[in-house]
């Protein structure tokens, strides 16, 4: 049953430095990295010890709680280093890539004739399982619990997000294969949300229930779409997959190779020539940013978008789930009377001598300054204006802050993910860390309720 999803509450953060629709081959990285922290809640158990030669798709580690859940190497090469942090926590697996890539052969499959269980086993064994995440809790899906539905958001509204229409062009075959496979893992449907009036590669695919989405960010957040189509109740599970990860899953099923290649957008006001690059999961960020050039040394390099991405530093690596790198100026400078003078060059949801309401189409060059100090929650009613779910954002944040599990559950914690609170965090007058508060709340629930 197709549904039109129209979002009114929200805010499009328009930034300068949108990627031009030109794709270059990224310089080959020497070292690729997989960070277990990208897989929230997973405790890694090393399979490929330091010095091991791995092929692309062969496992580096498995989850401590489920040894069938394997995490693949994005390239073939030698595991040169396993970086550990405090308490010997594994921070990064570093793989020195071979000149000639070798792929582990998982065998080409005919998806149509496979059963759900066979597909599940195949995805787990080939390291594609981590691409499937679940709500509630926003963690990698538990293979033992069948979801009531699978959601894919093919509509990107995040700031400077990669244009899915452009990135996924010509990948219809892979997408279809992946969707056919996923549709066997649920009794419900595979819901795909497509931007209204967009010529998406998903239109015309079989086995999907498509929805037309329109409206400002967070209309493209899969959590918002789930809430509008089929909200999650206590005890229910929904799986979500990113479109660019579907391509990898599809290619694996079609060819038997785990090909971690993806087209990423390099964007942001600090990039000289923002454009698209063909690269691999875990590639060195420097392999793309210095190709396009950066304008300054005082920059922040973000794997992902400015609202939810990770600060990876210029010597960091592309995250497992990310399809873009954003580079913006650091804002570690003082601004004289910055709190009371009229502001024209920053975005503001209010009109308190801030004038972004006058220029709805202007693109801004925002830096990482918080524009104020951390305070207790004071202002009310403003989160609601950018939060389209039927949930009280301030109340749920407070419930998380005081670890009130009952209140969290009652207020709809099963339906939210940290990314849903990125906009409330952006506009927060008290500069509270909303996504962190929600993440910690979800972790507590996962631990206590499960």
């Amino acid at each position: 049953m197709s549904k039109d999803i129209r979002i009114r509450k929200g805010l499009d953060i328009k930034l300068v430095g949108e990627a031009e629709k030109v794709t270059s081959e990224a310089t080959k990285s020497n070292v690729y990295a997989i960070k277990p922290d990208d897989f929230h809640g997973i405790v890694p158990k090393v399979i490929a010890k330091q010095g091991t030669e791995v092929k692309a798709g062969e496992p580096l580690f498995h989850s401590k709680t489920n040894e069938n859940m394997l995490f693949p190497s994005p390239v073939s090469g030698e595991v040169v280093e396993i970086v550990r942090g405090a308490k010997r926590k594994i921070l990064t697996f570093k793989i020195l890539a071979d000149k000639e890539q070798q792929f582990a052969d998982f065998g080409a499959k005919d998806v149509k004739s496979m059963s759900g269980d066979e597909i599940k086993t195949h995805l787990l064994a080939s390291g594609c399982w981590p691409f499937i995440k679940q709500r509630p809790y926003d963690v990698i899906a538990n293979p033992d619990v069948a979801p009531k539905a699978i959601f894919i958001s093919a509509y990107s509204t995040a700031p400077l997000a990669a244009d899915l229409e452009y990135v996924l062009a010509g990948k219809e075959n892979e997408l279809q294969t992946a969707i056919t496979a996923l549709s066997k893992l649920t009794e419900g449907s595979v819901h795909v949300s497509i931007g209204k009036n967009e010529n998406s590669p998903f239109t015309g695919l079989d086995n999907i229930t498509s929805h037309n989405v329109s409206g400002p960010h967070p209309a493209g957040n899969v959590g918002v779409q789930i809430a509008k189509v089929d909200p999650i109740n206590k005890g229910e599970v929904v799986w979500v997959v990113n479109p660019h990860d579907l391509v990898i899953i599809g290619e694996l099923l079609l060819t038997g190779k785990f090909n971690s290649e993806r087209i990423i957008a390099l964007a942001g006001s600090s990039v000289k020539t923002p454009k698209y690059f063909k690269t691999r999961i875990g590639a060195e960020v420097s392999s793309v940013i210095y190709d396009s050039g950066v304008k300054d040394n005082n920059i922040r390099v973000i794997s992902g978008n400015v609202l939810t991405g990770d600060n990876v530093k210029p010597d960091g690596h592309l995250g497992f789930y990310h399809d873009m790198i954003t580079v913006i100026p650091e804002g570690n400078d003082y601004e004289f009377f910055g709190w009371n003078k009229p502001i024209f060059n920053k975005i503001s949801p209010s009109r308190a001598l801030t004038f972004s309401w006058l220029f709805p189409n202007k693109k801004y060059d925002l830096n990482t300054n918080t524009n104020g100090e951390h305070r207790a929650f004071v202002v009310t009613g403003n989160y609601e204006s950018v939060f389209p779910m039927d949930i009280y954002p301030l109340q749920i944040l407070k419930a998380c802050a005081v670890n009130d599990l009952d209140a969290m559950e009652q207020l709809g914690m099963y339906e939210v993910a940290p990314e849903d609170f990125a906009l409330t965090e952006f506009i927060c007058v008290s500069k509270q860390p909303h996504q962190q508060i929600i993440r910690e709340g979800l972790d507590l629930m996962l631990k206590e309720i499960g």
Binding site: L15, P231, N233, R300, V306, L307, T308, G309, N311, T326, I328, G331, N332, D333, Y334, E335, F336, F337, G338, W339, N340, I343, S348, P349, S350, R351, A352, L353, T354, N367, T368, N369, T370, N371, G372, E373, R375, A376, V378, V379, T380, G381, N382, E384, Y392, Q395, L411, G412, F421, A422, E425, F426, I427, C428, V429, S430, K431, P433, H434, Q436
Partner: protein, 414 residues
């Protein structure tokens, strides 16, 4: 070395010491800090709490300036030195330097004491408890001089401010944690501790108390009448209206009437309200619903008198019989609705709750005003009362959302 880098070095020097919050308060007043995002969203919107509070202060400035002129105007008028302002809002007998001088002389000390004492307490608590100096008092400090009578002794104000900031706010943990509006806590303290200075017919015009004392001491002078409008109305006098009324409706709307410093000009309060709503800082829901609440209660009372359910000899009759809309232009209700009821910390926090909260403030204000002439103004009590009930309102609003979710679950499992 520039001021910026000098201050930065000082900040590093004070970091971790007891005095860090005090220094930071001054530093962040001059410069937006160099803090960058650490978790979550990497960019943030331009608004911070300082900007928000500053917007409220800006909306109060017209009321403050008008209050200064009005203090002098009421004084000179009572002495019979000037003619009553008669030709509109920009009346020449009102906007005079003479009037302003009296106003500056009387009201600036109130502002200075309010800010000086209040901020001193804030700084002290910040240093002792090691948290940052929070901006809440910037607005409170501006509100306090606007809601007291012009002749309020400074020591009294200082005592009240200390009480209000400590008991009203700091014991709960500071800005954002308080249950009662601190400015109104200060007002309530003054009202109950020093009632003779806060109501009656001697406090609303500068010089009235002094003159009364002189007369009592045997001086041959005319007493200055500093009667409250509401007190007069309660006695059934024709104070606001046409004909032989003391003040015309427009006088009351413009604010050429005695009253607390900043509360008299409905016109400028309306201007402040428009500014707060336009900037999206003040809640239009609370303002609108409170006005509706006021009018509804006024209409009910008008209905009671029209139906003849109450005799004219009743002491409640006069105020009940006041045309319902006149409630909005006399007393402090307009000021209370726009600037005090909308305090986000103590008001309801849900949008639905704000409608209920605002409505009840208007409703109860008029109830108190009419039935308890001993408290000539009900709005501050009504707001404090609703401050206490705001969490309860929110609780039921949020429960509505929770029930909806439970129902959805039941439908699924059924």
């Amino acid at each position: 070395m520039s001021l910026k880098s000098k201050l930065h070095n000082l900040k590093l020097k004070y970091k971790g010491t007891k005095m860090a919050p005090a220094f930071n308060a001054i530093h962040t007043f001059l410069y937006l800090p160099d803090e960058t995002t650490h978790s979550g969203a990497h960019v943030r919107a331009a608004d911070d709490l300082k900007r928000t509070m500053n917007t409220v202060i800006m909306s109060l400035v017209p009321c403050l300036i008008f209050g200064m002129f009005n203090a002098g105007y009421q004084h000179h008028l009572a002495l019979g030195e000037i003619e009553a302002a008669s030709n509109g809002f920009f009346s020449s007998t009102f906007w005079t330097l003479d009037n302003l001088t009296i106003g500056l002389w009387k009201i600036l000390p109130l502002v200075i004491i309010s800010y000086g004492v209040g901020l001193a307490v804030e700084f002290l608590f910040a240093v002792i408890k090691g948290h940052e100096v929070e901006e809440g008092y910037l607005v409170t400090g501006m509100l306090v001089p606007l809601i007291v009578p012009v002749d309020t002794p400074l020591w009294m104000l200082a005592v009240a401010v200390i009480f209000g900031v400590v008991i009203g706010k700091e014991v709960f943990g500071g800005t954002g944690m308080n249950i009662l509006n601190p400015a109104l806590t200060i007002r309530a303290f003054l009202f109950f501790a020093y009632p003779t200075w806060m109501s009656g017919d001697k406090v609303w015009v500068h010089g009235a108390v002094e003159r009364a004392n002189e007369i009592a001491g045997g001086a041959q002078l005319d007493a200055i009448s500093g009667e409250t409008i509401l007190g007069g109305l309660a006695q059934g006098k024709n104070i606001i209206g046409s004909g032989d009324a003391t003040y015309s409706v427009m006088d009351a709307f413009y604010g050429f009437i005695p009253g607390s410093v900043g509360e008299t000009s409905a016109l400028l309060i309306l201007l402040g309200a428009a500014f707060l709503i336009f900037t999206k800082i003040g809640s239009w829901r609370i303002m609108l619903s409170a006005v509706i609440g006021t009018l509804v209660m006024g209409l009910i009372f008008n209905g009671v008198t029209n139906a003849g359910w109450i005799s004219e000899s009743s002491k409640f009759y006069a105020l009940m019989n006041l045309e319902f809309w006149k409630h909005l232009i006399v007393g402090g209700i307009a000021f209370g609705i726009v600037f005090m009821a909308t305090d986000p910390v103590t008001a309801s926090q849900t949008n639905k709750g704000k409608w209920i909260y605002g409505f009840l403030i208007g409703f109860i204000s008029i109830l108190i005003r009419v039935f308890n002439p001993a408290y000539p103004e009900g709005v501050f009590l009504a707001i404090l009362l609703m401050n206490v009930f705001a969490p309860t309102i929110d609780h039921y609003v949020v429960q509505g959302n929770v029930k909806k979710r439970m129902k959805r679950l039941k439908l699924k499992t059924a």
